[in-house]
């Protein structure tokens, strides 16, 4: 029927078109802001590009910055597919990171081949349970997951702050835990770069989530609940279980993102280590249209903006925060477009009604 290869390509092109336009528009807004504040946008963007992709080490560092974003973007997108807005990835990332720091530091006598998976597992489990709470509250009491995940972000950050200051603190000025054991550290495979095998873990996660969502029954049911929970319920799908499960899996992905930062980058839990990877994940997911392939590209884009931003600020005195501004503007544009689409849908429904 219509499912030809050519048709599919056209479909992908159509889907990808708007995110690309939104990104260009956001970069353009960046130009305007720089012009208004008296900066030279050409120099700034050149430096940014240079910093992000100018050398193999630069590329490696960009990918390193993108690694948690693959996972947090995926976490947001996965919950989205079940109709849930998980704003709590930042908190899940924090509790996961703390779990990884503790297991990585205090579980002794294991070879790396066992210690690394166990540490990752601990982070995923703790963060999964953490995200399961708002999932359960939604399923059981119908309280809004947006509010609960926001609340739990603050609780999580305060909790790990307590743990790092009062319980697991290593000597030193900055509150941090002791360095994790070498057997729990993720191998860095590029000289002069902190890029580590966590990247491959993220790639595997991207593929596994894709497979789960579209090739398995679990994915069929989760997406059914996301699109129309009433119809799913009527078809014998356990809506409540799917909501909790989607939140748990989403949280696990967030936890893994935190674990990678600890095990591959900082090698201990440092207070305030996250520049907002969890929130960036929301932008990544939206720009990537909640699809693993889209997330692959959008996470690299945001990783490049953040990484190149350092070079840009040093070379041209444009503050690195421009990257954050561009990110926000991208979200604006993507949000407005998604709703333009919803509007079309409503028009169609109006037509069917009469």
């Amino acid at each position: 029927m219509t499912n030809t290869r050519k048709g599919k390509c056209a479909k992908y092109f159509e889907v990808a078109l708007y995110p690309v336009i939104a990104t260009c528009l956001a970069l353009l807004v960046g130009v305007i802001i720089m012009l208004v504040t008296g900066h030279n946008p050409v120099d700034a963007y050149l430096a940014l590009f240079e910093g992000a992709f100018g050398s193999s080490v630069a590329i490696a560092e960009t990918l390193s910055r993108s690694t948690p974003l693959f996972l947090t973007g995926l976490a947001v997108a996965f919950a989205f597919k079940c109709g849930l807005f998980n704003i709590g990835v930042e908190g899940q990332l924090h509790v996961g990171a703390m779990a990884a720091a503790v297991v990585g530091c205090y579980l002794t006598g294991l070879p790396a081949i066992a210690h690394i998976p166990l540490t990752l597992l601990a982070a995923a489990v703790v963060a999964g349970i953490w995200a399961g709470v708002p999932g359960y509250l939604k399923a059981r009491f119908r309280t809004h997951e947006v509010i609960n995940t926001i609340m739990m972000n603050h609780i999580a950050i305060a909790l790990v702050s307590y743990l790092v200051v009062h319980v697991f603190r290593a000597p030193g000025v900055i509150p941090r835990t002791s360095t994790i054991l070498p057997s729990a550290q993720l191998y860095r495979f590029i000289e002069f770069s902190r890029l580590n095998i966590g990247l491959f873990m993220a790639m595997i996660a991207l593929y596994l989530i894709y497979y789960l969502l579209w090739k398995t029954n679990v994915g069929y049911e989760i997406r059914a609940v996301g699109h129309n929970d009433k119809a799913a319920e009527c078809a014998g799908i356990n809506v409540k279980r799917n909501i909790v499960m989607a939140m748990v899996i989403s949280g696990m992905l967030g936890g893994l993102a935190g674990a990678e930062r600890i095990m591959g980058l900082h090698l201990s839990f440092i207070q305030g280590f996250s520049p907002g990877y969890g929130f960036e994940g929301i932008a990544v997911a939206l720009l990537g249209r909640n699809h693993p392939l889209g997330i692959l590209f959008s996470a690299i884009l945001f990783g490049a903006l953040a990484n190149g931003g350092f070079r840009m600020s040093m070379a041209t005195a444009v503050p690195t925060d421009l990257a954050t501004v561009i990110q926000a503007v991208v979200v604006f544009f993507v949000a407005a477009e998604q709703l333009a689409k919803l509007f079309i849908k409503r028009r169609k429904k109006g037509r069917l009604a009469e």
Binding site: I33, T37, G38, H39, F85, I87, L137, F141, R142, T143, H144, V146, I147, N148, I150, M151, M152, H154, I155, A158, L159, S161, Y162, V165, H166, G276, F279, I282, A283, L286, P319, D321, L322, A323, T324, V325, I326, Q327, A328, V329, V331, F332, V334, A335, A336, Q338, L339, A340, L342, F343, R346, R347, G350
Partner: protein
Amino acid sequence: MNLIERIFDVTIVMVTIRMATPLIIAGIGGMFSERSGVINIALEGKMLFGAFSSVAISYYTGNPWLGAAGAILIGGLIGFLHAVVSIKFNANQVVSGVAINILAIGLTAFLLETFFHVSGTTPTVAKLPVWGGFSPIVYFVAVLVVFSHITLFYTPFGLRLIAAGEHPKALETAGVNVIKIRYLGVIISGCLAGLAGAQLSIGTMSLFVEGMTAGRGFIALAALIFGKWTPLGILGSCLLFGFTDALGMRLAGLGIGLPTQFIQMLPFVVTMIALVSFVGRARPPKAIGMSYQKE
């Protein structure tokens, strides 16, 4: 006995009021938006914009009153932006709120470096005067609570605001422009959140620190929910949250250790419990989060 006297004195009352003030203003701002049907998780960002712009204006003009007015104006502008995206362009209200929060963090830090050539903290600027131990904004809060209570429950505008959040189509068929009511609700929320930010930066301190709202916008959101979307409820829950803050500081000052982190968690934990126990009783405006579009 002695200890209790040392904890509960006039000062703790004053600190409670001081801590609660920005929360009440932002919370009531959020109420105007959510009652009209627009979910407002952008209070945090709007407060941050208010905090920064009041300091910047006070710095350039030397007049903190202009700073406060500017914060209201800028807050209103951001509210307008939020309204355009989520009402006119029909954007998901949560997503647009997230965008405003990210924008606030990025743009205030960006402008801080561009204007003041420093990062982290601005130089000190002229702050609002102290009247009887409080900034003038504290007295404004008393007026605000009474004013918004009357507006919501005893004026035609209040009736229409509630209708817009409950059943926008019913309001439209009654001959009222829903879009206009929602715009007003979101812009008012921006103005008030901006003022709440000004209270943080030039009301209590006299400078701006990056990310200085530190989650207070979200606490205000929590107070809004805990206060069941009414001005008096918001007042009560903000005073409660303010008191826990004040108590925490006092206990820490006396060397009695409940770690501050647990005090910080309290409003959020309380709100989650409240949300669960509300089930079947108080409820949010029915049409909250849903965009409204004329055919």
